[in-house]
């Protein structure tokens, strides 16, 4: 039996709003071929199993239903490695200015 995530846990739900094939007429072909989906975070209104239908209370106080897809979801955006194509720019412009030009 899958363990239930407790009520009050910060989670994300997922729902298909429009299936592929039912998209707005003006969307390009690639978009028309995929569903319009929604993800919203909130606190679980009642214990629920990951992957199953769940209800959340959002920060605005709305109750929304959908598939429980993530528990306390991480913010994963960051920077990644420096971009060498940008790293040289500072020394170059300092050299044009004729100041103490780094590694010139």
């Amino acid at each position: 039996m899958t363990e239930l995530t407790p009520k009050g846990t910060w989670v994300e739900i997922y729902r298909v709003i429009l299936p592929a094939g039912e998209r707005a007429p003006q969307v390009p072909e690639d978009t028309a071929g995929v569903p319009l989906v929604m993800r919203v975070k909130g606190w679980l209104a009642a214990p629920a199993a990951p992957g199953a239908e769940a209800e959340i209370v959002t920060p605005a106080g709305r109750r929304l239903r959908g598939t429980l897809v993530a528990v306390n979801p991480a913010y994963t955006h960051g920077f990644g490695p420096p971009i060498p194509e940008l790293s040289g720019v500072g020394p170059e412009v300092r050299a044009i200015l004729g100041g103490e030009a780094g590694d010139e």
């Binding site: 707005a24 003006q26 319009l36 975070k41 920060p59 940008l86």
Partner: protein, 464 residues
């Protein structure tokens, strides 16, 4: 959707039909004036939440760099208005402030906004301070679930301010979802395109005019604004005029994303900019009334003296130079106008003054490094080279020398014709533009009644 107009009217509290003066014409100035916000009233509201009064910073080192590239006697002084100093990190706080103030004053239970950009954080921040609930609807990820990192950062910021964030995959049906939210909640629609939104930006133009005069003894010769949906240039230009800076040239600058489709799932993460680009500025300049309110208060063609584009690589380059020569690490999209300033200031006299009208905050996701790493993952080539060889969605070229930065002028006459075509296509069958409409269209396109008449005649020829 027949219901749409009713939901809209209830959610912004403006009866747009009242302002109609012809089959196309409406009384734009009266629509704005009826809100009751002049510059002083807007400033009073904004000061309550520490919005505005941002520093005007002279970019001495970038000015010196531009002068190295310029002919003798050329190279205007460059200043930047450090709008990142606003509470949520961009000029969008000005926009959100009057909407949220109105929502609270009129007793709405909350505010909602359809935006994937800085504006969401601004509305969420203002709502937090006002004690109102807030819902932000974003277009956030593609069909593989890959979020655009800049938008992911905006999700985080909105959630940090206590807002509900509805994240959607790619597609214009977002507006349908947004409408359903408005209907269900009865929240105020803090649209980017209401009079409140544009009047909130007037303080920016006004402030920078006053500050420039104090610092240099003259009004700016040129103000460059990063241009997308059109509120930024509209509000700024109006504020400049209200400060008396009637001779200042207003230049809109957008990142060139030609060839990438705004509603395409495939193209979504092949854009390294989520705003300030031609994907918004072209459609909104040629037809402002495609917005989520019946009459868009952002009407850029009325104010533009010039409209230019720059490339993604040029903006990333300018962003790097701003950090390394001026000690200002600021977000990439807001630096679109800075990139344009490199080229524009070069052609002006040393005694002249160019004001880059904003900065925005930067950070995880919302940074050239994050964007260029995403671009590489999407198979886009990132290299050093002459930016004119770049191609949106395929190749981003970081200039090898600042002299390579240039602006490409958008032909404003073509934009005007396109605007007029849209306007005339929207006419109900059997109706013809009357005198008031022709006058209105001339104002809308900052042209003449003769020009409008000529295009109407041409149009009749092509359709008749």
């Amino acid at each position: 959707m027949a219901e749409r107009a009713g939901i809209m009217r209830a959610s912004v509290g403006i009866d747009y039909a009242r302002y109609e003066t012809g089959v196309l014409a409406f009384d734009y100035e009266r629509m704005l004036a009826d809100t009751g916000y002049d510059i002083a009233a807007a400033q009073a509201v904004q000061r309550e939440t520490a919005v505005g009064d941002t520093p005007l910073v002279e970019l001495h080192n970038i000015t010196a760099l531009v002068r190295r590239l310029a002919s003798p006697g050329k190279g205007a002084r460059i200043f930047v208005k450090d709008e990142a100093a606003n509470p949520s990190g961009s000029f969008k706080d000005r926009r959100a402030s009057l909407s949220v103030h109105e929502a609270r004053r009129r007793g709405y239970p909350g505010v909602a906004a359809a935006t994937s950009g800085n504006y969401g954080a601004a509305v969420a921040s203002q709502a937090a301070k006002a004690g109102l609930r807030c819902i932000v609807v974003q277009e956030a990820f593609d069909s593989r679930g890959v979020a655009q990192p800049e938008i992911e950062e905006k999700t985080r910021a909105c959630e940090a301010y206590g807002a509900e964030v509805i994240r959607l995959s790619v597609g214009p049906e977002l507006f349908y979802v947004f409408l359903m939210v408005l209907r269900e909640t009865g929240y105020f629609n803090a649209s980017l395109y209401t009079p409140y939104s544009v009047l909130g930006i007037e303080t920016l133009g006004h402030e920078l005019a006053v500050q420039t005069k104090e610092r240099t003894g003259r009004f700016p010769d040129v103000v460059i604004a990063t241009h997308a949906g059109g509120g930024n240039v509209t509000g700024t230009a109006r504020g400049l005029r209200k400060a008396g800076a009637t001779d200042t040239q207003v230049i809109a600058a957008s990142v060139d994303l030609a060839g990438l489709h705004m509603a395409s799932d495939h193209d979504f993460n092949r854009k390294s900019f989520t705003t300030g680009h031609t994907g918004f500025s072209m459609p909104f300049t040629t037809w402002p009334d495609r917005a989520d309110v019946p009459r868009n208060a952002a009407r850029p063609l009325r104010y533009l003296d010039r409209f230019v584009t720059v490339t993604q690589g040029e903006v990333f380059y300018a962003t790097q130079v701003l950090a390394e020569l001026e000690g200002l690490e600021r977000g990439p999209a807001g630096n679109t106008s800075l990139a344009a300033a490199f080229a524009i200031a070069r052609e002006l006299d040393e005694a002249q003054v160019v004001v880059v009208q904003e900065t925005e905050y930067t950070g995880a996701g919302k940074h050239p490094i994050a964007q260029l790493n995403l671009a590489r993952r999407m198979g886009i080539e990132v290299a050093r080279g002459d930016p004119r060889d770049s191609r949106p969605g395929e190749r981003i070229l970081i200039p090898t020398h600042p002299a390579q930065i240039r602006v490409v002028d958008v032909d404003l006459d073509r934009v005007r014709r396109s605007y007029l075509r849209h306007a005339l296509e929207g006419l109900a069958p059997g109706t013809r533009p009357g005198e008031a409409d022709v006058r209105f269209l001339a104002e809308e396109t900052r042209s003449s009644e003769d020009f409008v008449a000529e295009v109407i005649h041409e149009q009749a020829g092509t359709t008749g």
